[in-house]
Amino acid sequence: MTTTSTPAPPHAPHASAPRLLGEPVGVDLARHVAAFGPLPAQHGVKRGHAGPLVAEVERSGLAGRGGGWFPTGRKMQAVVAAAHSARKDPVVVVNAMEGEPAASKDSVLVHRNPHLVLDGAVLAAQAVGASVAYVVAHRGGRSVGTLERAVEQRAARGGDPVELRVLAAPARYVASEESALANFVGEGIGLPVTVPPRVFESGVRRRPTFLSNAETMAHIALVARRGAAWFREVGDPAQPGTMLVSVSGAVANPGVIEVPTGTTMRQILGLAGGTTGPVSAAVTGGYGGSWVSASAAIDLPWTPDGLRPAGGTPGAGVLAVLPSESCGLVETARVVQWMAGQSAGQCGPCRFGLTAVSQDFAALAAARLKGTGLAGLEKRLGIIPGRGACRHPDGAVRFAASALEVFADEVKRHLSGHCSAGRRTYVLPVPAGTVTLPVDRPGEEWR
């Protein structure tokens, strides 16, 4: 496998001025207003019609930062249209769950600038005609408390034009999938449900629901203040603006950085202090994303289209870098086992399929799999996608399949009983105590 090393350049690449992480003000509302200005008033919002902010968000080109990169303005339009035809008031949900184990961008954002996220939620709610916005984070995580204190500060200073409610949902990976999150907010059960209808037409208590990622909401708060043209001043013309990237693994300074979309991996690694040694590959997007070979992806721009030639995706802004002495198959086997354990166990192809893929991968990683076993694994990877109620199995399969491609040489070695790794510690994080197989009947742990 080719290896790539990017020491920190003598002059670190010049980052554009950060927008979301620029001035960390915490829960202090007065400081937030001083730094970003007051919540802009929205005029001309009529019940059942999209407010002017919806068109402004559409013009800005903002795309969802929760992983899918779907145009946010179009999603808001769809919610308004669904609310109009169903004659129901829509609801707003902020996805601050950060289910991806290698991501930390949403909790860092909430910690540093919670009011930006809350402003976005309030403004989006007004623009689509919702009277309540739910902000949901993992139970037990630090975001819940921060968000609650921030909401208290707002209430103490006169409150908001719409109701803000902070909720703590089960810390399970699929509980942050959109249908599961809407199900949790409405019914108290954080399990995915069968779609369609999708949440934009029928989400929380069957109301059209504008559900977006916390970072997406923060960008909305800035578009409302500074406008679409300002938003497009940085980043890739197709998906403009800045994005948060959670950088981890073999870099000198792991953490969350804000870069214009379209920044290359080489630049991102430079901003993270450079790599700690030769690296072979990286996880892009998250565990529902994919591996890329470092040499193939190093100079590609971070946008959905830009990373595609290397099979990568910016997804939820995860970049986890694998040192050359680590075995990508061993890392993948651990992640796939965790992903299989995160299945809600509701759909056969996800529940049994991911368990089988995980077992195959464990055998491959341990160099116990034979050629026929590999053929069986590849066949399984081919028939699982698209056959769950939610996209969890698709993400797990994508991740596993990308490993077979990126680590093709290592696969050959393992099939003949060898592993070239010189390192026995793991690079990719897997939440402790959560590697379990799907439970028989989903129960209390989802409430």
Binding site: G68, A82, G288
Partner: protein, 84 residues
């Protein structure tokens, strides 16, 4: 060409495989017994077989719907289900 296609509710489906017996033209089972459905529209006599399979599903998990059936295509303005 439009028509009707068979879809399955993955959460409701219990994987007993009645559908594969009644509609082998469109349904095969994976190694765990769950249906893999061919989404080409059913026509003529196939449509009758499809209806029988739908009615016979013990979990009411199968349905025959107008093609195309997909959150993205059904409501053009809506976001696609794809993620990442």
């Amino acid at each position: 060409m439009s028509g009707h296609v068979v879809i399955v509710d993955r959460i409701a489906c219990d994987g007993f495989g009645t559908c594969a017996q009644l509609l082998p033209e469109r349904v095969i089972l994976d190694e765990w017994g769950y249906p893999i459905i061919d989404a080409t529209p059913v026509h003529g006599s196939e449509r009758q077989h499809a209806k029988r399979a739908v009615n016979a599903c013990p979990r009411l998990a199968l349905s025959l719907v107008k093609a195309p059936h997909d959150g993205a295509t059904r409501t053009p303005a809506g976001p696609p289900a794809a993620r990442r």
